[in-house]
Amino acid sequence: MKVLMKGNEAFAEAAVRAGCRYFFGYPITPQSEVPHYLAKRLPEVGGVFLQAESEVAAINMVYGAAAAGARVMTSSSGPGISLMQEGISYLAGAELPAVIVNIMRGGPGLGNIAPTQADYFQAVKGGGHGDYRVIVLAPANVGEIFTLMEKAFDLADKYRMPVMVLGDGILGQVMEPVELPPLKEVNPPPKPWAATGKIERNDKTRRIINSLYIVPEENEKHLEQQFAKYRQIEESEPLHENFLVEDAQIILVSFGTMARIAKSVVLKVRERGIKAGLIRPITLWPFPKKAFTAASIPAAKKILTVEMNGGQMVEDVRLAVNGRIEVDFFGRTGGMVPESNQIMEKVLAIAREVE
């Protein structure tokens, strides 16, 4: 049976159903329903909800819980995610699995609490110090929050690294019907590497969770292992959704809720006989490059990337097409949402140009 659920609550319930039992976070709009929900829900399932004194503390509590082998998460919004970057870098360096939800808001600085996608660079290109990657997933509707949160925890454990799930104020606040996945026993993979006290190991060997490699040769070796892992992820984990791209001469590229507005534009211009389609990257890192090969978009004459920011993912789209096709951009920023009519005008202008 379907129930109506708010996006933020879905992030929370999805985490519980994915076996997450630990949440550490600090209040910030527009993600507050996530902690509100988990403060009530986690104790019901024997879990722990803890409101930390800061995002800095929260992410380090996540680090500690992950080091002890738990499925653990935090959620925040741009300014809080900035404060967490230190901890995310340490999670990556120490190879710890954790899920971080960012319900993006307007920035830079204090900005505002309106929806944006302005943290794409921060999420996808690093954010913290050092040479590392974070898997980034971008759900577009409440149902997909459930599938991607489960995936986030699974990927985090599989690759032993932090996974970020990017939403925006729209996704956090929207309420939509969702078929709740069954409450099932979740069995995360064993974590023999976790620092849980020697008592939990028969051989009584000890565990040290650490990101300090004082000898550069050793650090390089460690990072080469990480990069081998990253290459494997780039090979096997990219996800995207194609919508009417096969015959499309104009390809829109959008992620998250923005892609839903873009999709409505595709449908509208199709009514006018314009062959438009949409590629919606679901994994932002690894970026779904293969969706942009000549074989994948055989009729494409021009690409239009649409984002709720000043132009960030467009750089990855350009890298993916590597100059083969011209890539245009339309976006609004600062908390303003590109309206369907504005995007349509842009598409119509491109259509005239392409003719």
Binding site: A57, N60, G64, A68, A195, G197
Partner: protein, 245 residues
Amino acid sequence: MFKRPALLTEKNFHYCPGCHHGIMHRLLAEVLEEFNPEETVGISSVGCSVFIYDYLDIDWVAAAHGRAPAVATGVKRVKPDRLVFTYQGDGDLAAIGTGEIVHAAARGEKITAIFINNAVYGMTGGQMAPTTLTGQKTTTTPEGRNPSQQGYPVKMVEMLSVLDGVAYAARVALNTPKRILDAKKALRKAFKVQRANLGFSIVEVLSACPTNWGVSPVEALKWVDEKMIAYYPLGEYKTPQEGVE
């Protein structure tokens, strides 16, 4: 009596001559052996003791600078039956990690903080610490710490002891055999408080840093007496009414 505690690894300490980290590591090993080291998870921090995990043969989680109490919170909440402690210096605990230590204490987090106060930043090159004494020369207070410019040294256990979440707070020193024995007692009590789930416990250890103080190891012992204890009085600032002897 003088045999090496089994918990200390074979690795030689990297500390300077006269540094008190070595004594404290040994005391910690001895006390943990009285409990169950296999049930222990240590949280190391950033500072001279960053490699402590090389010396004590237990599970460790290495924390970012100042964040050890938050990391310890995460570990303890997942594994409430483990003995979890942080080992932090004065820059780590009393400067960059002030928020984390205060709130772990306020929450009554069932962890133990071992706080090495040597009134100076050791690893980064002898800069002023939050606990650097008035008039004390460091590489960033070449004329001596001037309260009108750099403010006053921070008294951490006094501050923390007023928090309801704190069950045990003591300050000890390691500059005489008697004080070393007292330090061991305080450490034991702090872990007992944790074992009894009474709340947060902290032991501040006045510790010598001859290298950065610019004195000999022997003079450093005197310096602890004359300068540090004079400003940072030893003793138990808070102790539970019952639950531990």
